[in-house]
Symmetry: C2
Subunit: 371 residues, 2 copies
C-alpha cells in the first residue's frame, strides 16, 4: 500500500491524497459504501462502480459466520466470491462482537461470543481476527480492538485503550508473518471523549508503525461536538503521511467537519439505512419520500443529482414505491443516498485540489441547512 | 393495434406473429413480466429491456388503489409515471376483486368490494374498469370479467360465462366511446373445464369483434391436463387472425404446450415468486439455490444462461445471498427466472420462424425433465 498527500488545505488540516492498493487506486477523501455480508444492500457491482464507489467495506464478523472461512478460502477471498474487482476494506469484527452478540466475554486473550445466527460458541483473538481477514483478502485489514461504549468513565476508557494497544501489537505481529504488500493493516485509536486517552492511544499505535490509522469509538451515541473533538485529538497525534479513517461516520455535515480535521476515509450505514426509511439527502437538506406532498410531484428527488433514481424517476414514483413496499423503492433510495455521499467526498476532494475547500464547505452547508 | 401471423407451424396450431402497439412492436409468442404495482419486483426498466422484455403487465385493481387514478391522470398514465417506454397491458381487476378482496358482492351491475389496504368501500363496473384503464393508458386493456373459481359446477360456470359476455359488451361499448387506436381491448373467454362453455364464451365474444382475446379462468387450481384442454377448446373457437393471450400461465412446459394450441401471449408471477423462494429455472430443470450443495459451487446457476446473474455470479454467491436474506438475492434470482421465461418464448418463436418448433419443444423438454 502506498499513500501520498497531494494537496494540503492552507486553512485547515484537510488534505487530498492518493491511496494505491492491490485492487486499484483510491482518491481521498473517500466515502466507502458498506457491504456487510459481501453485498451493498440491493445493489449490483456495476451500479456501485457507476455511482463512483472506489472501495467498499466487508464485515469480518458477518463473513466469518456466513459464508464462513472455508467458502472464502475456496473462492480465494471476497473479490472472487462476490465478483467485485476494486479495493475492499474489512473491519476486524471488534465492534460487532460487542454490538451484535448479546453473550460475550472479554479477556486479555480475546473475546468469547455466541453467534446471533444459531447461538454457537466462537472466540475471536487478535490473531484469529487477522487470520480471518487473510481469508477474506481485503486490501486493507483492521486491528482487532475493543470498541469503547458511550458514555464511558475515564478508567473504563483507559482500560480499553490499553487493551486495544496490546491487541494491536499482537495483530501487527501476526500480520508481519504474512504478505504485508498484499494486505495492509490499520491500527484503531480508542480513548472515548478524553483528549489524553486519544493522544495516548494514537501515540501507542504509532510506535507500531501501521500503514494507516483509524479512529474508532465514535458515532456510538456521543454528541456531534464530542465526536468532532475526539476526531481532532486523534488526528493531531497521528502521522501526517499516513491515511486516516474515521469509522462509522456519518452525516454529510460530519463528513465535511472531519475532512477539515484531516480525515481521509469514511464509511457509514446511514445512507443505506436512511434509504430503507425513505429518508433521502438533497442539496437543500433531507426529505422523507413517504410524505404525502410528493404524491404528484413530477420533479426528481434532487434536481441537481445525477444518480440513476433522479435521472429516471420522479418523487411521485419513488413515493408510490415506498408506500406500496416495492423492493425497487429501497434500491432506488439506496442508489440516491450512496451517490450523494460518494459524490460529496469527490466534490470535497475537487475543492481541496483547487484550494477552495473552505468556500465549498460553507456553500454546501448553507444550502443543506437552508430549510 | 395491428396483428399479423407471420409463420404457421405445419404440425400444430402454433404460430409466430407480430403485434404492433402504440408504444412499440411485440413479437409473439411473448412472455410478459408482471409489474403489478407499476414495478416488476426489484428490477429497473433498463434491466427489463436488457432481459428482452417487450411488454409488461400492470394491474388495474392495485393501480386504482395506489397510486390512484388522479396520480395516473396527472402523469398521463403508467408510462410517464414509471418511466417505461415500451408497451403495457393491464388486466381489468376482475381477478383481484375476487382473490384479494375478502368482502365482495357481485351483481349484474358490477362488483362492490372493500380495499385490502384500508377497508374502504369501492365499486367496479365494466364501465369503470375501462375508465380506470384509460387513466392507466396501457396499450392493451382487458374486459372486466368474472373469473370462475375452480372447481365450479357446470351451472355456476355457465352463469359466469353469461355474466362475462354481458359485461364484455358493456366494456366494448365504453371502449368505442374513446380512442380505440390508442388502446386496444381484449375479451376474456371463461367456461371453466367445460368444452361447450368455452366454445359458447369464445363465440359470444367473437360477435363483439375484439382486437384480441384472452383465455381466463385457468391456472386457478385445475390440473395441467384440464388447463391444456380448456386452452385448446378456447383457441379452437377463436379467430385465427387475432392475438390470443393465456392469462397467468405458467411453467415452461405449460408455455410450450399452450403455444402448440395457438396461444401468442403469456404472463405469470411464477418466475418472480419462485425467485423469492430461491427456486430457479435451469436447462436441466429447477434447482433450489438454498440447497447446501451449492455453498462452494463456483458454476453459474445455469452455465447456458446469458442473464446478468449467471454472467457475473456463482451459485455459491447466490446461495449465500439467499441464506443471509440480502435484497440482492431476490433481485438476481428474479433477473435469472425472468430471463429464462422471456428467452424461452423468444426461442420458441425462432423455432416457429424456421419451421422447427416440434423438434425444439422435444429437445427442450428432454433436457428440462432429465433429472
Amino acid at each position: 500500500m502506498k499513500f501520498r498527500v497531494t494537496h494540503q488545505d492552507p486553512h485547515s488540516s484537510a488534505r487530498a491524497g492518493v491511496l494505491e492498493l492491490p485492487h486499484g487506486t483510491v482518491e481521498t477523501p473517500v466515502f466507502m459504501p458498506v457491504g456487510t455480508q459481501a453485498s451493498v444492500k440491493s445493489l449490483s457491482n456495476n451500479e456501485l462502480e457507476a455511482l463512483g464507489a472506489q472501495i467498499i467495506l466487508g464485515n469480518t464478523f458477518h463473513l466469518y459466520l456466513r459464508p464462513g472461512v472455508d467458502v472464502l478460502d475456496y473462492f480465494r477471498g471476497i473479490h472472487g466470491f462476490m465478483g467485485w474487482n476494486r479495493p475492499v476494506l474489512t473491519d476486524s469484527g471488534g465492534f460487532q462482537v460487542f454490538s451484535l452478540s448479546k453473550l460475550n466475554k472479554v479477556t486479555e486473550e480475546g473475546v468469547a461470543f455466541k453467534s446471533p445466527v444459531d447461538g454457537s460458541a466462537h472466540f475471536f483473538s487478535p490473531e484469529s481476527a487477522i487470520d480471518i481477514q487473510r481469508s477474506i483478502g481485503a486490501d486493507i485489514m483492521m486491528c482487532f480492538d475493543e470498541c469503547t461504549e458511550y458514555p464511558a468513565a475515564y478508567d473504563r476508557a483507559a482500560f480499553s485503550v490499553g487493551l486495544t494497544s496490546r491487541w494491536a501489537r499482537r495483530c501487527r505481529d501476526r500480520w508481519l508473518e504474512g504478505d504485508t504488500e498484499k494486505q495492509a493493516l490499520f491500527g484503531i485509536v480508542q480513548g472515548s471523549v478524553y483528549e489524553s486517552l486519544r493522544r495516548e492511544s494514537a501515540e501507542a499505535l504509532q510506535e507500531l508503525d501501521f500503514p494507516g490509522y483509524a479512529i474508532g469509538g465514535v458515532s456510538v451515541g456521543e454528541s456531534k461536538e464530542e465526536m468532532q473533538a475526539a476526531t481532532g485529538w486523534a488526528t493531531a497525534f497521528l502521522p501526517a503521511d499516513k491515511p486516516r479513517y474515521l469509522m462509522g461516520v456519518g452525516a454529510p455535515e460530519d463528513l465535511l467537519a472531519a475532512i477539515e480535521k484531516g480525515v481521509d476515509m469514511f464509511d457509514c450505514v446511514m445512507p443505506t439505512r436512511n434509504a430503507r426509511h425513505g429518508n433521502l439527502f438533497t442539496r437543500y437538506g433531507r426529505i422523507n419520500i413517504k410524505n404525502a406532498r410528493f404524491a404528484k410531484d413530477g420533479l426528481p428527488v434532487d434536481p441537481d443529482c445525477g444518480c440513476p433514481a433522479c435521472r429516471n424517476h420522479s418523487r411521485a414514483y419513488l413515493h408510490h414505491l415506498f408506500r406500496v413496499g416495492e423492493l425497487l423503492s429501497q434500491r432506488l433510495n439506496t442508489l440516491h443516498n450512496l451517490y450523494f455521499m460518494i459524490q460529496l467526498a469527490i466534490r470535497a476532494r475537487r475543492a481541496l485540489c483547487s484550494g477552495t475547500y473552505t468556500g465549498f464547505k460553507t456553500a454546501f452547508l448553507q444550502d443543506y441547512h437552508q430549510k
